[in-house]
């Protein structure tokens, strides 16, 4: 593994206090290893989304630091909602980040087409978001995130609003994209099953204040598919992670 190389990003003693007095995170230490697939798992209100947003640079920590080593690599963010501009076609939405960089349409379109093909949406570029299903919208959102060839992909409960079938298909696809593109992924979820299936490492977080309470390695080989979903190892890890999550939720008095 890549244990020896320096982490892509390190959070040290990070605290986030909002203006209404809520302490979302306190004393958060977290390393993202290059090429890893890390899930942040925890009950709602544990600050997992806040941690992700701080890594993305959406807001600054109240204390502590976010350390990028030499320079911040290009990163992309996938929100819980697809967040597609309804007035732009599928291709127009995927082209948006390139357009903001000042890339011409002629140069951008081949990349857009490739990104769309990568998420299985070739042929849909002229459609508008309202014509697509929830799963397809999320695929467009992922294509938009990947079109800039980021080193780090931050995903904030991207599949939470999708049905089970769509969700597991997208789980398969995101693993394939991760493997194919050499990405580092940080994935926020509240699903034990999803996190075990996807991650090589799960950080279990507790709330009030938000912090990491368990760091669990999922030592199952990739590529993972349905045979992993049905394996004893998968069930075993799910039990371990569930127990850790239960403990994390007991760590504070609210349910």
């Amino acid at each position: 593994m890549l244990e020896q190389s320096p982490p892509l990003v390190s959070l040290r003693g990070v605290e986030k206090r909002f203006s209404n007095g809520t302490v979302a995170l306190r004393g958060l230490d977290l390393d993202l290893r290059r090429g890893g697939f890390v899930s942040l798992l925890g009950p709602s209100g544990c600050g997992k989304s806040t941690a992700l947003r701080l890594i993305a640079g959406l807001g600054a920590p109240s204390a502590g630091r976010v350390d990028w080593g030499s320079a911040q690599p290009p990163l992309s963010f996938v929100f819980q909602e697809p967040t597609l501009m309804p007035w732009r076609s599928v291709a127009g939405n995927v082209r948006l980040p390139l357009q903001m960089q000042g890339m011409s349409k002629a140069n951008a379109m081949p990349l857009v087409m490739k990104a769309l093909a990568g998420v299985g949406l070739a042929g849909f570029e002229k459609h508008y978001p309202r014509q697509l299903s929830g799963g397809m919208k999320m695929r467009v959102s992922i294509a938009r995130a990947l079109v800039t060839r980021p080193a780090l992909l931050l995903m904030d409960e991207p599949f939470a609003a999708l049905d089970e079938i769509t969700r597991s298909r997208l789980n398969d696809d995101i693993l394939a994209l991760w493997a194919a593109q050499g990405l580092t992924v940080a994935f926020v979820t509240h699903s034990v099953f999803e996190s075990v299936f996807l991650s090589d490492r799960i950080l279990v977080m507790a709330a009030r204040p938000g912090r990491v309470v368990a760091d669990i390695a999922i030592d199952a080989p990739y590529p993972r598919d349905d045979s992993f979903r049905n394996s004893d190892a998968y069930a075993h890890y799910c039990r371990i992670v569930s127990a850790a999550l239960k403990e994390a939720m007991a760590a504070h008095d609210t349910i």
Binding site: S76, F77, T83, M85, P86, W87, L96, P97, Y128, R130
Partner: protein, 262 residues
């Protein structure tokens, strides 16, 4: 589908013909004199007969309405964009926009006519005053209604201020702006007519409202109706143009302009 569509056109037409026919019949049967209530045919004849002068007046009214609306789009839209840049600018100026809006135009018009020498300019200002507020308030609402996720997204792209305005806020505000435009279109016509009435014959106006006034002094009731018909038609035309524009811009993406199949 086509059948119900055909009916949707034919039924109101049939109703209109029925009402006009009844009107004509009543006027003739009861022998109502023309200076009390002319029948539709008399009005139509008058419209043809006086077409030259009425068309000239129509053009004057259309010109004022069109210019006032254009000024309202530029003024209201521009001010809304300015408001979107800083909530302090908005907080300082918005109350005055409201005051301008809630003060009845009929009450301000005589003052404007005194201060502004050029009658056409005075009429223009009156029409603009009533038309610009719906555009301002709707566009402001639209510019401020952007989903915060989009703002985050643009921040992640390190988008510049103008890029956020151009690629996010303006397109997002488009349905609101077009809604305001539809209201403002009707209001600018009303503003032009009200101002013309206030200016009256003394100001040497020549728009449709002036024709109505002039005809009433002469008890030329058919001509009053003829001018009224033209005013109505103008209103309908303005509404139709903006409804079409709205559809053209929004039909591909906005819920208001898309058809759902059940």
């Amino acid at each position: 589908m086509t059948r119900s569509r055909l009916l949707a056109i034919l039924l109101p037409l049939a109703f209109g013909v029925f009402v006009l026919g009844g009107w004509e019949f009543l006027v003739r049967a009861a022998g109502i004199p023309v200076y009390v209530l002319p029948g539709p045919l008399t009005i139509a004849a008058k419209l043809v007969e006086d077409w030259a002068s009425l068309a000239e007046s129509l053009l004057v009214t259309l010109r004022i309405t069109g210019l006032a609306l254009a000024a309202a789009v530029i003024g209201g839209g521009g001010l809304a964009i300015l408001f979107a840049q800083s909530k302090w600018i908005e907080a300082s100026l918005f109350p005055y926009a409201v005051i301008l809006q809630v003060t009845p135009i009929v009450a301000i018009a005589p003052l404007i006519l005194i201060y502004v020498r050029d009658t056409e300019m005075a009429l223009l200002i009156c029409a603009w005053l009533v038309a610009f507020f719906p555009i301002l308030s709707n566009t402001t609402l639209g510019l401020n209604s952007v989903d915060h996720n989009f703002v985050d997204l643009m921040q992640l792209y390190r988008a510049k201020r103008w890029q956020i305005l151009w690629y996010l806020r303006l397109p997002g505000a488009m349905p609101y702006f077009l809604g305001g435009l539809r209201i403002a279109g009707g209001l600018s016509l009303i503003g032009a007519v009200v101002a013309e009435f206030t200016a009256g014959t003394a100001a040497g106006g020549s728009g449709l409202a002036y024709r109505i006034l002039e005809s009433s002094y002469r008890l030329d009731i058919p001509r009053m109706y003829a001018a009224l018909v033209l005013l109505s038609a103008t209103g309908i035309l303005i509404f139709g143009v903006f409804a079409a524009l709205s559809w053209l811009v929004l039909h591909r993406w906005h819920e208001s302009a898309t058809r759902r199949e059940q």
